[in-house]
Structures are given as C-alpha cells and as structure tokens.
Symmetry: C2
C-alpha cells in the first residue's frame, strides 16, 4: 500500500507525457544547431507554450536546470531520451502485411527509435512467404504466439486482425502499437501490456471538422 501510494505520487500526468516527444524533437533541433544552453523562455517560444509550463513539466522529472543559467541542451536532451526509453533497443513483429503493414516495415521510424523488426505475420495465403524486407518473410498468423514466446519480442505492431490482440497475453510482449482502426478490448488484454493507439481515420475526421468549421465561420 505504501508502494502503491509512492507510485501514485510519482506518476506523471498524461498531459505531460504527451508533450515529451515534442521536447525531444525540439532539443534535438537545438542540438543539431550547436546550441549549448537554453532557457525555459526560449524553449517555450520554440514549442509555442509558456515558460511556466516548461519548468513545471521538467520539474516533474526532477530538476535538470540551473538557476541563473537555464538548461544545458545536451544534458536535457539526454535526460529526456532516457525518460522516453529511446536509447534502448526493442524487437518487434508486425501483424498484417497489406499496405500499411508493408510500409511500416520499411519505415525509418523503426530504426530511428532502436526498434528491430523480427518478423511479419498475415493470414492471407497470397501474402505468406513474401519477402517484405531483407530476410523478413511473411509468416502465417497461426505461428504468431509460438514465435513471440520463443524469440523475445517487445512490441507488436498491429495493422490488422484486432481480434488477435488478446492472444498476445502470455507471449511476454510489452507493448502494442495499434493501427487497426479498432478499439482493442482492453479488458481482455493483460495489464502488463501497454497499448498505444493510432487512429489515422480519426485524425482525418478531425481535419474535415476543422475545415467545415472555418467555412461556417465565414458565412
């Protein structure tokens, strides 16, 4: 119970977490421009927010700055990388190899984040056996569980077959990156597994909404 409470206290709000990647990108740009130090005011301008928020956010992970000086860009960048777990290596498999799946396999987004693709799965016979990436041949979906168990797989990238998610409960995986466009049944998924949704269709709908609003404002 005391540990529970400890965790609760240390827990960082979802709002802050959602801003971390933006901090990371922004600091990376500063670093690439050989900037050595940055104040919360400067960071705020670059990120289109307030200096207060920057300091509040960063202090929730401990103080990375120095009064009168600001933040050392390199140090802050390194710290945020560690917080995000970006320097670690992850092994991954892809489920669904049509279109989106095939492309994600080739995407640099994986290698940039230390994610190594180990295998790809599909249940359509016309896809099975295809080489979607050097030395990565599409396997039958029915092999998925055994594969994850025998190899050590951290991340499952789902681009199809959302109903397969719960089969991953006892395969030792740590996270699901969900592109299926369907809400996974979280109540059937092991609590140890983190789920990150990407609803592409939702973002297109929101764009349509914004476009429509602007039209209406005018009239």
């Amino acid at each position: 119970m005391s540990i529970q409470r400890e965790n609760k206290r240390d827990e960082v709000s979802a709002a802050v977490v959602s801003r971390l990647p933006k901090y990371y990108r922004c600091l990376r740009d500063f670093l690439n421009n050989d900037k050595l130090r940055v104040s919360s005011k400067e960071l705020a301008e670059a990120m289109n927010t307030t200096a207060s928020q920057i300091r509040q956010d960063l202090s929730s992970f401990g103080g990375f700055g120095q009064q009168g000086y600001g933040y050392n860009v390199k140090t802050l960048y390194t710290n945020i990388s560690v917080i995000l777990g970006i320097n670690d290596t992850y092994s991954a498999v892809i489920i669904g190899t049509d279109r989106l799946g095939a492309v994600l396999a080739k995407e640099s987004v994986f290698s940039k984040r230390g994610v190594i693709l180990r295998a790809a799965f599909d249940s359509r016979s016309e896809n099975i056996g295809k080489e979607i990436l050097t030395d990565i041949y599409v396997r039958d979906l029915s092999e998925l569980e055994n594969f994850c168990k025998s190899c050590v797989i951290d991340i499952v990238v789902m681009t199809d077959y959302p109903e397969y998610a719960e089969r991953l409960n006892n395969c030792g995986i740590k996270g699901i990156w969900n592109f299926t466009g369907a809400q996974l049944e979280l109540k059937n998924i092991n609590e140890d597994i983190s789920v990150q949704d990407v609803f592409l269709g939702d973002t297109l709908m929101m764009l349509c909404y914004k476009i429509n609003m602007k039209q209406k404002e005018k009239s």
Copy 2:
C-alpha cells in the same frame, strides 16, 4: 465584433472535438448491430467514460436526445456525421510518394471519408512518372502550385518536403494532413488553412515511455 463574440461563444473545446470521431465509430457499430436507441449511460459504457460527459459533450452541439427515452442511434449518428463533415466530398493531392505516401494513396481511409485523390507529387526523378494508383502518375513537385490552383484541391496530404507547406498559401486549399514528422511553420501558413498533424514517431516514443514506466514500477 458582435460576430466575433458569437463565434467565441459557440466554439467547441478541443477536448470535445477530439472525442467526436470516437462517438462516430461507436454509433456506427451500434447502427451495424441494429440498435435503435441508446442512453447516455450505455454510450458511456461503450466509450469508457461517464454519462455526464456524454450529455455535456452532445449538448454543446444542441440537444439530440429526448428525456425519458435517450438518443435515437440513427439520428445521433447522422448528426455527428454532419458535424464532422463526413458526408462531404473532398479532393486531395499527396506530396511525397516514397513509402508512406505510396501507401496512403492506396489506403481505404480516403475513400471511406469521401476523399478523392487527384494527384501525387515528388521531386525525385526516379519517382516521377510512376503510376502509384490507377491513372494517378507521380508529377514533378514544381507543378504543385499550378495544379492546386487549376483543379480545386481541398486537402494536401504531406508525407515529405515540409518546407513546401507555405507555398500552398494561395492555392485555395483548405487543409493539410501533416505526416512529415516536422512541425510546420504555422506563422507562415495562411490562417484559412487547417492543419492536422500526425506524428507517428511521437506515438512510438510514448509507447516506449509506457513500457519503461511499467518496468520501473515492478522493480
């Protein structure tokens, strides 16, 4: 000034807007299951939120329900579709035809939302001229502005060349769906143009963060 104020008052918060696509998906599922009516309580359960939030959200667009009865699924679905502008037709072009661009072109996400792809652009000579979709051949990026002006293009899907965004200011486009992984320079982009970002890398970073947190909690 009175109109300005009117708009301000009618403005729906970003939090509500971000939930609209979820309402839409949820109601579509109910509709597919031939459900005729739904209460805020039921909807809340399906959407993993509170009945209060459902009623609060929906009332910000006007009352779609009926005391003692709830909401008619079909009516609510139609209303949300109209709010999202989902039944309208949009014409679009894609910038960048490597990997992600090529796949998005083929994705059903477009046709599902009434988005018709008119053209694709790239500046790499090896890509130009390729047929990435039936009758859609990759054009030279330099033709982009003239093309958008002459045809009536609503949406530009950017998968590359983020620096090109500001060139779209006077082409009459209404929205940019940004997959470039770079923050577009909003101060250089016409206010009439809505921008919807999709930072895939950010979502992967957030997944890594969650995975790491769970590991730390255990130890």
